[in-house]
């Protein structure tokens, strides 16, 4: 399985680089910008919809024979989003890492964008893309792909940005001493160095993506009804028809798709990217992939590979920029005037967006809307906190027990990873069916759905942490016969704490996102409403009330950013300080 070191790559991306302290003015500015743009988009979208956005209705078949094709369509959407995310990562992160001025804008922006609930603004993007290509399925297709894209691109860009900033000094000097052009340097040094982290983060983001593709395939915004051929629409149709058997078929198809994706794409990629790992120490477990070995040992593929490698080599070796000077000084003297103009322009843009959004919001919304949404947000916040605590209470002891037994880890870890990738929204109908059948209180019993899919992140991070726990520290505790209670509190829990925080951050972020689809759910014509900010956004989406969707999304983003800054980051910094020996 994947060793502890790979998990650390993942931690790096999550803790968001140099901005580890409490919220600063840059974050506030970025928040104003994002929230403002969301609200303004809502206004713009409303005007676009006026001439009736017409989305073609594709009939969705409920016969299991149609499922393989639907699954394939869903998988292809994932692939398209992956390519788009990669392109975004390579450009956005590079720009942020190369230009000090761009960095000041792009990184706080990325940080806030990461916190905006993807499913919240799905409604805008759907309407936007539909009106771009009226009468064509390309619109909804692009909207679905965009939803997946936004669920993975930010995380990947962060990982790549951080790798670019951590390129070891000696490698950097070696690269400059042979006078590589920036293009050569990018392909020879920076991309290879960032590769293991990028591949790992891509895989993690991808596992979140399945959730969003399922949610994005079938959506109705006001009068606009979207149903794209895919597993998500199949399930939506099954829910309308109250057909539990079809839900079962969809779960089966999705499971197979995820396993195939993992085995054919990511396992080989992770194993392959190991060769770029910088640390020279023999890492404890080397990821292996049968697919990769198969290809590497096949003679035909070897020759194809040689041709392809030679071609790529030529692209990477091209100078592009002739006669490049190797800069000896890393930081050129600051140009204060340009900096000042740049800052002023940025401040003006943010000021304008903030002012325009405020003006729009003032005539479309009232204070009671704000207090209603904020109040719903408190309910959702309470749910997230309680559920993360409950899930930790269950999975931390189990994860520790599993992680300390290598053989058990080897079996359980892939299962946990599969469960984390599995889109929990496919399972919602089963739970909803049960709630309807036994007439349980939706406000309480709908809550666990939020954490259904993301609790596994806690489990597998804990397993990874426990299996990376140094054996000498375990032996020391055993030889001094440390008592059970002390063993938990002084030995193992502090040791796995950074892993726990990573898992909890991912789980809570996922839970906020899931609240949009889990706080109010349908079974046939029955609607269960558990209340909360997620339910608020969903109701406003069904009603096509754009200003209030925007308000809901904005408030949820504020909650998520605040929770990250006030709870998770300080916890993470604490964990890191206390588990470092060097």
């Amino acid at each position: 399985m994947y060793g502890g070191h790979t998990i650390y790559q993942n931690l790096l991306a999550l803790r968001a680089g140099p901005y580890r302290q409490l919220p600063g003015w840059r974050d506030l500015a970025a928040l104003v910008l994002v929230v403002g743009v969301v609200i303004l988009l809502a206004g713009g979208v409303r005007q676009m919809v006026e001439p009736v956005a017409h989305a073609p209705a594709v009939p969705i078949s409920l016969s299991p024979e149609a499922l393989p094709v639907y699954t394939l369509r869903t998988v292809l959407r994932m692939l398209a989003a992956l390519v788009a995310s990669l392109l975004f990562t390579l450009t956005y992160a590079t720009l942020a890492a190369k230009s000090r001025r761009a960095e000041r804008v792009l990184i706080p922006l990325l940080d806030v964008l990461q916190s905006v609930p993807v499913l919240g603004y799905l409604s805008f993007t759907v309407v936007f893309f539909v009106s771009l290509f009226p009468g064509n399925t390309l619109g909804p297709e692009l909207a679905a792909i965009f939803a997946i894209f936004t669920s993975q691109a930010w995380n990947m860009a962060f990982s790549f940005y951080q790798s670019l900033r951590m390129v070891p000094g000696d490698l950097d000097e070696a690269c400059r001493s042979v006078r590589s052009s920036p293009w050569q340097r990018f392909w020879r040094l920076e991309v290879p160095f960032a590769m293991p982290g990028l591949v790992w983060n891509t895989m993690m983001s991808m596992s979140g993506g399945w959730f969003f593709v399922v949610a994005a395939e079938a959506i109705s915004v006001g009068d606009v009804q979207i149903a794209l051929p895919g597993v998500g629409s199949f399930v939506a149709r099954a829910i309308e028809e109250r057909n539990l058997a079809c839900v079962g078929w969809a779960i089966l198809a999705m499971s197979l798709a995820i396993i195939v994706y993992d085995q054919l794409l990511f396992r080989p990629l992770v194993a392959w990217s190991e060769k770029f790992r910088f640390e020279q120490t023999a890492s404890q477990v080397t990821p292996r992939s049968w697919v990769l070995s198969l290809f590497q040992r096949s003679a035909i593929f070897q020759s194809i590979n040689q041709v392809a490698t030679a071609g790529l080599q030529r692209v990477g070796d091209a100078r592009l920029v002739p006669g490049i000077r190797a800069p000896l000084v890393r930081h050129p003297p600051s140009q204060r005037l340009v900096d000042a103009i740049w800052m002023l322009a940025g401040a003006a843009a943010i000021g304008f967006v903030g002012w325009a959004a405020l003006r729009y919001a003032r005539h479309a919304l009232s204070w009671s809307d704000v207090s209603q949404a904020t109040g719903s947000g408190l309910l959702t916040l309470l749910r997230v906190l309680v559920l993360v605590a409950l899930a930790s209470f269950v999975w931390v002891p189990i994860g520790v027990m599993v992680g300390l037994r290598p053989r058990l880890t080897a079996t359980v870890q892939p299962i946990a990873q599969f469960l984390a990738a599995f889109p929990a929204n496919l399972l919602f109908p089963l739970a909803v069916f049960a709630i309807v059948k036994f007439q349980l209180a939706p406000a309480v019993w709908l809550s666990p759905l939020m954490i259904l899919g993301t609790q596994w992140y806690i489990l597998f991070n804990i397993i990874a942490g426990a299996s990376a726990f140094p054996s000498d520290l375990r032996e020391a505790a055993a030889s001094f016969r440390v008592r059970s209670l002390h063993w938990w509190w002084q030995v193992i829990l502090p040791g796995i704490f950074p892993y726990f925080v990573t898992g909890a951050i991912t789980a809570s972020g996922g839970a906020w996102n899931a609240s949009v689809v889990s706080e109010t759910v349908n079974w046939g014509s029955t609607t269960l409403n558990g209340g909360g900010l997620g339910a608020y956004i969903t109701q406003m989406t069904r009603a096509g009330d754009y200003p209030r969707i925007a308000l809901g999304v904005a408030i949820m983003s504020v909650y998520v950013v605040a929770m990250n800054r006030l709870l998770w980051r300080p916890l993470y910094a604490f964990a890191e300080r206390h588990t470092r020996l060097g």
Binding site: E475, F480, H486
Partner: protein
């Protein structure tokens, strides 16, 4: 004693070990890596259960970590999130003392080991030597009867290690520790002679006791004294004579018999031969002397010696190594000529190399997967030895240009020199 590996079939790491630790002594366990000395220490600590055999502690079978036994770890094993004081107090955890008493005893152990003033520091703030002092304080705080030390000085630099050794010996000799016996695992011969009353030399795969040597010198011991040097020489002789025996067995055995190769990288072999041939040694010298001069551990030196002898470039008499005429020519040659000579000797004296070259020659595509030779070797050798032998063979074969190897596809190929 043997012990089942967590994965796969039982693999004897240790066999027929029968040792007893007496009150008032420091017993050294000396051996090369892979001889199972750390496993033996962990069995004595109750951390590992032997797959057969019995450990008796004060007449009772030992079933797990027991009161009165404490371990000092090679890697210190300090908890980064606990202060020095809390780390030391962890050594008292099993005793169930009231908090005030626990604090008092921890502080006095910290005091005794020379850490006073550091009790509220965290391990990351300390240097390596200070960290290991915390490791010692944690071990002695419970007043153990038996102290087990797993290469406690090997992660420290020479000066720091020497200071800590001396400080510990002072406490031991002045009887300021209630500890009755110490088991010290080490691969440093001088350290063993400096500290121990008795040294057991372990042989490898499976580990067994190869020799027992008494060190009757009074403390403090002088490294330069003649009797000290003599004991160091005696231990060297024990180790090298075992090596000489096994090398003799190699040359006496039929040609189709497979033997392991020592872990001796080609660049080290080259450097070692050049040093031997240089004017300081004139082609011959005593092993302890050159080990000290080159700061080589026994673990590193003996494989080099074995390799040179195997290749016919040097001969070993007792603890004295001497270059053969071929070895002198090798040392004096320029790089192409040296390669040619090495290739000749490799194919002539190492049947395994000749065998691999032959297989590659016979195959139509002149390639062979690593597994082919791995399986062959594993019929005769311990799996670890087989892997080590193959990696040495690849290193030597590449240098001699008799074979190529692709680590990604794990395939050997023939190269035409």
């Amino acid at each position: 004693m043997a012990y089942a590996r967590p994965s796969g079939e039982p693999l004897p790491v240790l066999a027929n070990i029968d040792l007893s630790l007496r009150s008032g002594e420091i017993l050294g366990l000396l051996g090369r890596s892979g001889s199972g000395k750390s496993t033996l220490l962990r069995i004595s600590a109750g951390l590992i259960r032997p797959s057969s055999g019995e450990v008796l502690y004060r007449g009772q079978p030992l079933v797990g970590p027991a009161a009165g036994i404490a371990v000092v770890f090679q890697t210190f094993a300090l908890y980064p999130w606990l202060s020095v004081q809390r780390n030391v107090e962890l050594g008292l955890d099993a005793l169930d003392l009231p908090p005030a008493e626990r604090r008092r005893r921890a502080l006095s152990a910290i005091d005794l080991i020379g850490l006073d003033g550091f009790q509220s520091a965290y391990p990351r703030e300390l240097s390596g030597g200070m960290r290991q002092r915390v490791g010692f304080a944690r071990a002695i705080v419970s007043d153990p009867v038996l102290l087990l030390m797993d290469e406690p000085f090997s992660a420290l630099d020479v000066l720091t290690a020497e200071t800590l050794r001396t400080d510990f010996l002072d406490l031991w000799v002045e009887r300021r520790l209630p500890t009755e016996a110490v088991l010290l695992v080490t691969h440093n011969i001088e350290e063993a002679v400096l500290m121990c009353d008795r040294v057991l030399v372990l042989g490898s795969h499976p580990g067994q006791i190869a020799a027992e040597i008494r060190i009757p010198l009074p403390h403090p011991r002088n490294r330069l004294a003649a009797n000290f040097r003599a004991l160091v020489g005696e231990i060297y002789t024990t180790l090298t004579s075992r090596m000489a025996e096994s090398l003799a067995a190699v040359s006496a055995s039929p040609a189709d018999q497979v033997h392991g190769l020592p872990r001796a990288a080609i660049n080290r072999l080259n450097g070692f031969v050049e040093t031997l041939a240089a004017s300081a040694y004139q082609g011959q010298c005593e092993l302890p002397e050159i080990a000290a001069a080159l700061a080589l551990k026994v673990d590193e030196l003996l494989p080099l010696v074995a390799a040179l002898q195997l290749l016919g470039f040097a001969e070993l008499r007792g603890t004295r190594i001497r270059l053969t005429p071929a070895g002198r020519v090798f040392a004096g040659s320029a790089s192409e000529e040296r390669k040619r000579l090495f290739r000749e000797h490799l194919l002539r004296f190492v049947p395994l190399a000749a065998h691999v070259a032959e297989v590659l020659e016979e195959r139509p595509d002149h390639r062979a997967p690593r597994e082919r030779f791995e399986l062959e070797l594993q019929d005769h050798l311990h799996p670890e030895d087989a892997q080590r032998t193959l990696s040495t063979l690849i290193d030597w074969g590449r240098y001699a240009e008799i074979l190529g190897y692709d680590a990604r596809t794990r395939v050997f190929s023939q190269t035409v020199p």
